[in-house]
Amino acid sequence: MARGAGALSRGAGLAGAALVLAMLALPLAAILRAAGGGVRPGPADLSALWFTLEQASLSAVLSVALAVPVARALARRRFAGRRLFITLTGAPFLLPVAVAVMGLLAVFGARGWLNAAAGTLGLGPWRIYGLHGVVLAHVFFNLPLAVRILLQGWQAIPAERFRLAATLGLPPGQVFRLLEGPMLRQAVPGALAAIFAICLGSFSVALILGGGPAATTLELAIYQAFLFDSDLGRAAVLALMQAGLVAGAAVLSLWLTRMDGSGSGLDRASQRRDAPGGWRRGADALWLVLAGLFVVLPLVALVLKGLPGLADLPARTWPAVGNSLVVSLGCAALTVTLAGALSAPMARWAEGVGLMPLALSSLVLGTGIFLILNPVMPPARAALPVTLLVNVLMALPFCLRVLAPAWARAEADHGRLADQLGLRGLSRLRWLILPRIRGPLGFAAGIAAALSMGDLGVITLFGTEDRETLPLLMYRLMGAYRTEAAWGAALVLLGLSFGIFWVFDRMGGRDA
């Protein structure tokens, strides 16, 4: 074909893909080489594998099942603050895991609000620890993602069809069977696979809420093999097992859906006059209230707990904030560039490569990079750049899932005209792509910045001489008995993560 992505785009995609593959394969190779080959996994590793699969499946199924009524309510109801609701419920995804778990405990823990309320009714106490706790936390993190994926599915159904259904007076059951059911059959498998892949890499959640060694995930087993047994061979084999699973899930998800993850695409649906009234209105409201409370209460708890600690924050908080901002902004810029390069060819192979980093944990990557750097330079000096690099890889799959469809849509909508005018390379980027994907671009940069901001990452593995990031400071405060100040730091972290996400998302604009 004479038209299409063009050589420059394919080149950018190839270069990006090569970079990503190298950054994934080299560390793994370095570990295997240092280990001198693999080691067969033992029975404990296999039970870790089993638990990992179990919790990831349950988390995925539950997240998506709960997301269906919530997404439907959001799709067919219009109310003041709907936009804010969607933004706020996206929050857990951006939270540092350890912080989020503390927020969950404040609500669902032994002395949490839920048990306090249940206690006054003579119920409970309810224990969060165990498989159900792990799943609860994963649903907290991933419900917003599932809601967004499904909401996009709903909004992809042309409004005319709902109008037609309303004209024919179809009852809600029929509307579901004819319109919503077929859409869900398409959207649900992809959502399941995506969340399944994310939950496979769970570490802190499983460890803190799991309740014991029965809740050992593969990621934890990798961590222990590295840091406690210094058994690189076993760690590498476990990492490969995990990579295989995640790659499988990622490929499945890619194969099953091609969804548009853009933030600006969320509010585009037109007025729906066909939404059923009566008790269904009440049910929709109830779902929205429940989902909202589930997601927002832990955030409120974090704010309340963090406020008193703000006064105790040490002076070095501000340099730490500065370091975190540098890492976070750098991560946003690099991730978006890389995601752009991989979106440019509009090819599945490029997208597939971009999802691969999900398969390797930051610990595996960090250790591999460490082994590569060690002969050349003292790794501690590279702590921040390596943190940045690993954060870029970790954020890439999410950014790519937002950018690639937007890029493809810009090409689909206006590529013909651009071809006709002979726009190529950079001028195509400047005049067609960038203006058309501004919204998703801001959203993606926001995600990358926020994810990077909250990540403790590999900095602990590399050690630091004097530069610390905000999450590291938080951990140091916790480790020094200064729990109250640590809560304050968590609140600052929370504010920064959301703040930077918000700024980027705004910069992208809503209507571009």
């Binding site: 909508d413 013909r416 005209l417 071809d419 726009l423 400047r430 005049w431 203006p435 571009a512």
Partner: protein, 237 residues
């Protein structure tokens, strides 16, 4: 037919899935041709192939004796208007038209003056800073024509760009197209559903039906004595 000026489709075979279309004809420079035929017959496919959006599986497309069928769309001597999406919605008219002059979007004072003149010519003077969404449907069509004007390509392809306009407005646009064609001397190839449109501005008709794009025939003669395919389409046989 010897090599000549204008457009030459030499035993061109097009394929899109199960759909096939063959074309083997030439058009002289400055011709005004309507492409007529039932919907789904392949009118847009034919124009798409000439503009470079579909590669022929066989045959050659030539302009002034030189092959153009391996060129990228922007490198062909073609300015094309689609059914919709003829302007970038995120750019104002000045920028949209500037891209018609230079794909890098950089124009000097002379270029800007040319753009102003083109806008003036289509009746949009003073609207260079507006975005397409700030224009009416008719104005958008005019702006698109202004873009074609500044592109200054010898071959003008119109794939029903005015289909969404009302009859009066459409007639107005066609009149404008005819004027512009006369001024520039470009070869015009225009997809149409309506024989009246064809009568209005085309001196020849290419009938596309049953997998074949027939060589151009004079409009008046063809409409006076339509062949079976055209008669079926016109619905008076």
């Amino acid at each position: 037919m010897p090599e000549q000026d204008g457009l030459h489709l030499k035993q061109v075979e097009l394929m899109q899935g199960d759909f096939r279309l063959s074309a083997d004809f030439a058009l002289g420079a400055g011709a005004r041709v309507a492409v007529l035929g039932p919907s789904g017959a392949g009118k847009s496919t034919l124009l798409g192939a000439i503009a470079g959006f579909l590669d022929p599986v066989a045959g050659q497309i030539l302009w002034d004796g030189a092959r153009i069928d391996r060129l990228a769309p922007g490198a062909r001597p073609v300015a094309m208007l689609f059914q919709d999406g003829n302007l970038f919605p995120h750019l104002n008219l000045m920028r949209n038209l500037a891209l018609g002059i230079s794909p890098r979007g950089r124009v000097d004072a002379a270029g800007r003056a040319r753009i102003e003149r083109a806008l003036e010519r289509v009746g949009l003077e003073g609207m260079a800073q507006r975005r397409p969404a700030e224009l009416s449907g008719g104005q958008q069509s005019r702006a698109a024509l202004a873009r074609v004007l500044v592109q200054a390509r010898p071959l003008m392809l119109l794939d029903e760009p005015f289909a969404a306009l009302g009859p009066a407005l459409r007639a107005e646009m066609l009149a404008l197209v005819a004027e512009l064609q006369a001024e520039t001397g470009a070869t015009l190839l225009m997809v149409s559903h309506d024989p009246k449109d064809a009568e209005r501005i085309a001196d020849q008709i290419v009938l596309v039906d049953e997998g074949r794009a027939a060589p151009p025939a004079p409009t008046a003669a063809l409409l006076a004595d339509p062949p079976p395919g055209l008669r079926r389409y016109l619905g008076d046989g």
